[in-house]
């Protein structure tokens, strides 16, 4: 059962109040708060079980290795991976995306080869490819947007025609749009492309089944899904991961090293050079267990209801004074609400909201190309998660009215 009161209680940072008023945390698309279960798991592990992994053979080290590998298994099950070996631990989704973009380009792509991205990508799924465009002469093609902030797939088959790679986000971190992943994957595969999905914004909020999704690789971050900072995931089909060269060299990723050459360990070790985020893996394991105990379908349901409530409330209260980006249809969007409020600059709006302890992000959300396309140099973004409730939305709406007093509009 989805017991909101109990869930809220699980998050110590949400219990905080500043100067008498509670903290209203609406910045989870940026990074999420952590439940006690995650904090405790990390602390207990550090206090009672911390040891090196994959290197030493004494029991404590073997137990730590098992705990780390068990975290991999938990993550694999959470996304329905075919095998835990398909789950690579990185430092964040950005590393996951770079690992693929750099490795695949250097290994397989030539001057003139085409990589397809979309206009709604996060910098993490743009800049790595621009680096490779500069280094290898790769061409980037873009899937454009419709006016209501969805991907315009009308010309998709032409765009992906002959493309070597298609890499796109499952959900926009600015517009909230949830993309038709399976359709894009299939049409890209039909064109012969290898497909990567930036799943940063969907894995924390909805059921993820990589087998049903059909993509070749996906990337996501631990810190956006109740886990700690310092850990991200690259999932990939094993035949793809086998072909992908490592981004970094060092301990653990090798099979053998001689003065003149080295050979790689099998996946996933090949991609995990150096001491990995051990404590963080334990934390991420606890996070997916916590999420599963609540149920991803239930979380998505809660967020849909809350997003609908937020759309309704804000539109009723502010009418044309508020412009909310992205699709209206709740089935096609996640709990991310980017908006413009009157003619106020987002930075000023966020300042006024902060006065009421309402935490939102104001800025370009690491998606500057998208911002230019929607002709905003910034937006205010309120993003929802399992621990938010209608009261949070009401406080947001009330806080917005106080902008009137200050800017005298």
């Amino acid at each position: 059962m989805f017991d909101l009161a109990r869930i809220r209680n699980d998050f110590p940072h949400l219990q905080r109040s500043i100067e008498g008023s509670p903290v209203v945390y609406l910045d989870s698309a940026n990074t999420s708060q952590k439940p006690t279960a995650v904090i405790e798991a990390m602390q207990q592990f550090t206090k009672q079980s911390y040891a090196p992994i994959n290197r030493s053979a004494y029991r404590m080290a073997a137990a730590a290795t098992d705990a780390y590998e068990n975290a991999r298994l938990l993550v694999a099950n959470f996304i329905n991976a075919g095998s835990p070996d398909e789950v690579v631990f990185t430092k964040n989704a950005t590393e996951s995306l770079n690992l693929f973009a750099h490795g695949w380009s250097r290994q397989r792509l030539q001057q003139g080869d085409v990589v397809v991205l979309t206009h709604m990508e996060h910098h993490a799924n743009i800049v790595p490819w621009q680096m490779m465009a500069a280094e290898r002469g790769i061409d980037i093609r873009w899937i454009p947007l419709t006016d209501d902030g969805r991907l315009d797939l009308s010309d998709l088959d032409n765009i992906v025609d002959g493309a070597a790679v298609v890499s796109f986000t499952s959900m926009s971190n600015v517009l909230g749009t949830m993309n038709p992943v399976r359709e894009i994957v299939d049409r890209s595969h039909a064109a012969g492309a290898t497909v990567m999905v930036d799943a940063c914004q969907s894995v924390p909020h909805a059921v993820t089944d990589v087998q049903a999704m059909g993509a070749d690789l996906i990337a996501f971050s631990g810190h956006k899904m109740l886990g700690p900072s310092g850990i991200g995931v690259l999932w990939g089909r094993s035949d793809i991961l086998d072909q992908l060269p490592p981004l970094m060299g060092g301990g653990n990723m090798i099979d053998d090293v001689r003065l003149d050459t080295f050979s790689c360990a099998p996946v996933p070790a090949k991609f995990e050079a150096g001491t990995p985020p051990i404590i963080e893996a334990i934390g991420l394991g606890a996070a997916v267990q916590y999420l599963s105990s609540i149920g991803m379908a239930e979380i998505r349901q809660h967020e849909m209801e809350l997003t609908q409530y937020a759309l309704d409330t804000l539109t009723e209260r502010f009418g044309s004074d508020i412009v909310i980006h992205g699709p209206r249809n709740i089935e096609e969007r996640g709990g991310v609400l980017s908006f413009a409020f009157r003619d106020l600059h987002p930075h000023d709006v966020s300042q006024v909201l902060d006065e009421k302890n309402v935490c939102v992000r104001a800025g370009h959300h690491c998606a500057k190309p998208l911002m230019r396309i929607i002709e905003a140099n910034a937006t205010v973004r309120a993003s929802l998660y399992l621990y938010n409730d209608t009261n949070d939305v009401d406080i947001l709406a009330n806080a917005l009215t106080s902008a009137d007093d200050i800017f005298g509009l």
Binding site: I18, E19, H345, P346, H347, D348, Q351, V352, E355, A362, G363, H364, K368, M371, N377, A378, I406, F407, G408
Partner: protein, 147 residues
């Protein structure tokens, strides 16, 4: 906690609503310099005409929050008609007020008064906004280097 009234003084809102010296200058003879704040996306273009070592004309364009916009507006007022050396001194003076520079050129002889700009003093209590207030000034610094 400092109240918002410390940040959004009346004079600041006035400059925000009615920015002075907004627009462009022909380049050349004027020079133009771009500045931006990667955190919030604020962008500014500064146009400056220097004649005989004096900033004879200065205008700004761009998009930004009330703080960066009003800071730019007030800056143009304070800088116009100043010598390059005076402009430099004002930059230091302003950055000192924003508490991001230690050394204050406090010889009143070569430091023009900040005037309206004093109203931005309250920004110091909101550290995240200091970058907004300073953006036009950093852009001016760059412009002076190329002048």
């Amino acid at each position: 906690m400092p109240g918002l009234e410390d940040l959004y003084r009346e004079i600041i809102l006035d400059h925000y609503r009615n920015p002075r010296n907004r627009g462009e200058l022909e380049t050349p003879p004027a020079i133009s310099t771009d500045g931006h704040n990667p955190l919030c996306g604020d962008e500014i273009t500064l146009y400056m005409l220097v004649e005989d070592g004096v900033v004879s004309e200065i205008k700004t364009n761009g998009q930004g929050c009330s703080i960066s916009q009003s800071s730019a507006s007030m800056m143009t007022q304070a800088i116009r008609g100043r010598t390059l050396a005076e402009a430099e001194a004002l930059i230091h003076h302003f950055k000192h007020m924003m508490s991001i520079e230690d050394h204050h050129h406090d010889d009143p002889g070569d430091t023009p008064a900040l005037g309206d700009l004093e109203a931005l003093q309250g920004v110091v209590k909101f550290p995240v906004r200091i970058k907004c207030a300073v953006l036009p000034w950093n852009t001016l610094s760059q412009a002076l280097e190329s002048a």
